[in-house]
Amino acid sequence: MRLYDPTSSGPQRTLYRAAAIANLDGRTMGVLENGKLNAVEMLRELAALFEAHHGCTLRAVYSKSNPSAPAPAGVLAQAAAEVDFLITGLGD
């Protein structure tokens, strides 16, 4: 008996990762909150830890209105131009 495979046979995507930051000290950071309850508050608390431990500076808080869709391209482009790293969340 010959069975067709039911899984995707589409082209493999090549995934890229951003280069790791060698040292967090003194870096600028951004927060991307996804609109979920307490997301801003939680992420600001997390940013405060980076400020305290690494002397980072919170440059900007970005937002997206749909937590389960990618952030608008313009938001990500702006963040990439303005900060060294981005903290994002939250899940449920």
């Binding site: 008996m1 010959r2 069975l3 067709y4 495979d5 039911p6 899984t7 995707s8 046979s9 589409g10 082209p11 995507r13 609109g35 309850l37 749909n66 937590p67 389960s68 869709a69 990618p70 899940g91 449920d92």
Partner: protein, 358 residues
């Protein structure tokens, strides 16, 4: 792409062994599947005019693609007859629209399932059920088309529970959630007509559905009484959001509404105006948010939006309402949208035709 280039699994010529093989590969929804033998898949492909390698939908987060071929394989596994295939294709074309957000709706802890509502002549053509036991088992077309959706989400898009499907509890519609709109005795224009399709063209509406609520009312004799009980279900604190709604009226309830000459729009407006909770109540259960209230009460708010109240949805058109089910019984239903907010908006597509493909 020639058929011989698709991945083939050679298994012993024994149906039960092939069933077990499918289980071992992780291809099932927990129930046995029909082994996707090549000749059945190829017979299914004959019902779609595009080539097997044509892409129907692309996962927005992973880039995984659903080809016509993969859809046919999973349709066979679900138990679909070849003539059901155009419905399944149209459903995924609708789900592929960005506003449906099928990644979020299928990955979320909210545990939604795509509800398919088929409207128009194709429902009778392929023997769908729009009548007794509408959402229940027993009809091959309803059961297997809905099941094929889930198998595709698992096998092609890898929305696997615990891995990329993070449903807290899910619901039974994740096995299969597909119905036909009842045309017999329906006093309102069918959905396919209301959606603007030419006469004779059927449609499938897809909705990221959070669950199923039976609304029982055997004592009401006016539209206000019947729809009042539906509105109360729509406003329960467990699901009231700015999201959309599906309401399927039982024929007994629809007769009461039609006898009073209420249109679909009358019913939608009545439901929207009354499916609401006071702001204080929303605060008391921890579900009030300024941003959501403001969105509903801003300058573009619907005239029926009431100050100090949080309504379900943004406007009456957020409520899809039609008829379905058996002749006897005062049991309608309300189906809420996935989780919080407006993360997914219902979409529709014509079945088997291309309306705007020039």
């Amino acid at each position: 792409m020639p058929f011989e280039t698709y991945r083939i699994h050679e298994v012993p010529d024994d149906v039960l062994a092939a069933l077990d093989y499918c289980y071992e590969q992780g291809w099932t929804d927990g129930l046995p599947v029909v082994p996707p033998v090549t000749d059945r898949v190829e017979a299914t492909l004959a019902y779609e005019g595009r080539p097997p390698q044509a892409v129907i939908a692309t996962h927005p987060a992973t880039g995984l693609q659903l080809s016509v071929h993969a859809a046919a394989v999973n349709a066979v596994m679900a138990g679909c007859l070849p003539e059901y295939f155009p419905v399944l294709i149209a459903a995924f074309e609708a789900m592929d629209k960005p506003q449906f957000n099928f990644h979020g709706s299928t990955a979320s802890t909210g545990g939604s399932a795509p509800l398919l509502i088929v409207s128009g002549p194709v429902a009778d053509d392929i023997g769908m059920n729009a009548d007794v036991n509408l959402f229940g088992p027993g009809n091959r077309a309803n059961a297997t088309i809905g099941r094929a959706v889930r198998l595709i989400l698992r096998n092609v898009f890898q929305m696997i529970p615990g891995i990329s499907d993070k449903s807290t509890q899910g619901h039974p519609g994740k096995y299969s959630f597909c119905i036909a709109e009842r045309a017999r005795g329906n006093p309102w224009p069918l959905l396919c007509e209301a959606q603007g399709y030419p006469p004779g063209v059927s449609s499938v509406t897809v909705f990221a559905a959070g669950g199923f609520y039976n609304v029982e009312n055997h004592g009401g004799n006016t539209p206000e009484q019947i729809l009042g009980s539906v509105a109360d279900a729509m406003a329960n604190y467990g699901c009231i959001t700015l999201g959309q709604s599906i309401v399927i009226l039982a024929p007994e309830h629809m007769r009461i509404i039609a006898d009073a000459s209420w249109s679909r729009e009358d019913a939608q407006s009545y439901l929207f105006a009354r499916a609401k909770r006071p702001v204080e109540g929303m605060r008391n259960v921890g579900k009030y948010r300024d941003s959501e209230y403001d969105k509903q009460h801003d300058g573009a708010s619907h005239p029926l939006v009431e100050l100090g109240q949080f309504h379900r949805g943004l406007w009456p058109e957020d409520i899809l309402i039609t008829m379905g089910g058996g002749d006897a019984g005062g049991h309608s239903c309300f189906v809420p949208s996935w989780s919080r907010g407006r993360g997914s908006i219902m979409q529709h597509k014509p079945i088997g035709v291309c309306i705007d493909c020039c």
